[in-house]
Symmetry: C2
Amino acid sequence: MENFSSKLLQAAVEEFSRLPGIGRKTALRLVLHLLRQDSDTINRFSESVVKLHQNVVYCSRCHNISDRELCEICGSPRRDSSVICVVEDIRDVIAIENTGQYHGLYHVLGGIISPMDGIGPADLNIDSLVYRIGNDKDISEVILALSTTMEGDTTNFYLYRKINPFSIKVSVIARGIAIGDELEYADEVTLGRSIIHRTEYDKSSIR
Amino acid sequence: MENFSSKLLQAAVEEFSRLPGIGRKTALRLVLHLLRQDSDTINRFSESVVKLHQNVVYCSRCHNISDRELCEICGSPRRDSSVICVVEDIRDVIAIENTGQYHGLYHVLGGIISPMDGIGPADLNIDSLVYRIGNDKDISEVILALSTTMEGDTTNFYLYRKINPFSIKVSVIARGIAIGDELEYADEVTLGRSIIHRTEYDKSSIR
């Protein structure tokens, strides 16, 4: 434990060093940076966290983070409401939105099935997904966009069995060699799959 | 700019991404982490910053960060008040304290002389250092512990000329090969100086 000459400084550094990936040296740097700002900046910083925590809601339809009952994506008339993209986390929604390649709706599971971590289907937003599919005749496709891990595969399989009875299209995101990667450094499983699931040559399918 | 589904989330991420070394992805990770905490944790986090900013003071003697007029180091009867270690920044005080090798007092300059950045001697806590040396007969040595850069050297020289008339010992921290470093990777200037300023062999001087 460092020997801080100020208890207030020590308290602030301790709070920051509880954040994920922030060590004590970084925490000190961040706190000393804030200390050099004016009161308005400090209040805005501090209030942004409190306001978010107090007022944030999760979309009643897709469980995405939102400012009101229905999130901006679910509420937008410009989105394609025939497709639902199932993701693990809010961050995945932001990542997919940033690609600019998807214009449908989302469904945030809030995790993936992981027996090792004690997370089963009942802990995830799966019932509400099945409800959406069963009650919205608009929906024609569900895209499963989960991590390409053992847990992701398990969850994909579980969801597939739940969605299959509705006889709509179920797809998974493409797995293969990342764009810009060199083949010799790709892992064997990915490389093997990328050959099995090869797609017909088409100028638009490559960069 | 990312397409956040929540303005509150966006506001908090923007505040965090203004911190030094924190990009937008890291900011989002930190904010989502805080969002998962309970209200008490959030309030404690947020108040730690505001309280520090509102109540922090700088030691009237050494300009170190403090909770009261005289910092814990200046106020401690266990410190050796015959030595003053001159440093650039509060972080340097903490770094030296963490070594556990120094038991004297400090003087925080608040920067170093840097004509390129428009920082001259008048912008630094130099007058108060000269005042301390002139008025405290206890002081027998001043250690200059500034960065080993051009600016640090300039500041060392300026301080030396100011302190010299008081006929007390002025020393600078040792420059040489860092412990654990291999010679072949050391830069030439450091290696050259480490030979010129070699010290007599003594078991206690090496690791």
